[in-house]
């Protein structure tokens, strides 16, 4: 799980162009949206693309994103649960 979280950190920084954020600054349990990384609605859509591109997971209902993208850990758990890590 930890390896997956580390991998996700790198992918998120790259895909969302978080150039001023270092991987060690991201707490796997902090919220991704609002405070925390300050991600916005476009980032949420971009995370859906990330899951499809890197893990072959298609989120059918974007509303599910809310729970999946709560934190890095929930995201990693979701990927595991889909058997795609």
């Amino acid at each position: 799980m930890d390896a997956l979280i580390e991998k996700l950190k790198g992918q998120i920084i790259e895909q969302l162009n978080l150039a001023e954020v270092k991987p060690e600054e991201i707490n796997p349990d902090s919220p991704l949206f609002g405070e925390g990384l300050g991600l916005d609605s476009i980032d949420a859509l971009e995370l859906i693309v990330l899951l499809e591109k890197h893990y072959g997971i298609k989120i059918q209902d974007p509303k599910d994103g809310k729970t999946i993208f709560q934190s890095l850990r929930t995201m990693a758990e979701y990927i595991k649960s889909q058997g795609k890590s």
Binding site: L16, L18, I42, E46, V49
Partner: protein, 215 residues
């Protein structure tokens, strides 16, 4: 008489403010590298910058340099401050990136973060967001800098209620790029700004050609 009070010009990996070169990077740097260097030289922290496409980054930097030493943002009513930009390629550079992402059926990943930049006026939106400027907007597309159009339109905005305007040209097309932005204000009784040129076509052409670039 309405005036032009400050201006910046970015070209050939150099930045000039009011005609003087204030920053230059190695001419061999790519556009992306140059933009990153110029951002560091500007010395502001604005994480949204890294999310922008090249055109917005270029426009953002040019506006920041033009605004830097001025009191434009504090002296003007930002609800009556217009942003009027123009270029020749619209958003074509980012259009090509989006098109590329859908060209290949087996690698088909259109990106919302790219697609949103496939409109040229997003550059206006980025400037508006950065400085909370809520006045008039217009993005014109012309073959080359049309000083006549920009001056006439700015004049017409001032006639119809605008008090200030950020006006210019922001172009990225392949390896070619250029940004030129001037700050214009409605005539005021007192004007403390050092640079003080009448807003007309001659001024715009003069300041556009003023910088002596290092080659």
């Amino acid at each position: 008489m309405n005036t032009i009070n400050s201006y910046a010009h970015i070209k050939y990996n150099q930045v000039s403010v009011n005609g003087e070169i204030v920053f230059q990077s190695n001419p061999s740097l790519s556009l992306a590298e140059f933009l990153s260097e110029a951002y560091k030289a500007l010395g502001v922290s604005y994480p949204k910058f890294h999310k922008m496409d090249a055109q917005c980054k270029l426009g953002f930097l040019c506006a920041e340099f033009a605004l830097k030493e001025t009191s434009f943002l504090t002296e003007n009513d930002l609800t009556k401050t217009a942003i009027v930009l123009s270029n020749a390629a619209s958003s074509l550079e980012t259009d090509r990136i989006h098109q590329h992402s859908i060209d290949d059926r087996s690698n088909y990943f259109p990106s919302p973060a790219v697609f949103v930049y496939t409109l040229p006026n997003i550059t206006i939106g980025e400037l508006a967001i950065k400085h909370k400027i809520t006045g008039e907007n217009a993005f014109f597309v012309s073959e080359q800098l049309d000083a006549n159009l920009l001056v006439n339109y700015t004049e017409s905005l001032i006639q119809s209620g605008s008090e200030a305007a950020i006006v210019g040209w922001v172009e990225v097309d392949g390896a070619n790029f250029e940004a030129f932005i001037f700050l214009s204000e409605k005539q005021k009784d007192t004007n403390k700004n050092a640079i003080f040129k009448p807003l007309n076509q001659t001024s715009v052409i003069t300041i556009y050609n003023q910088t002596i670039w290092t080659h």
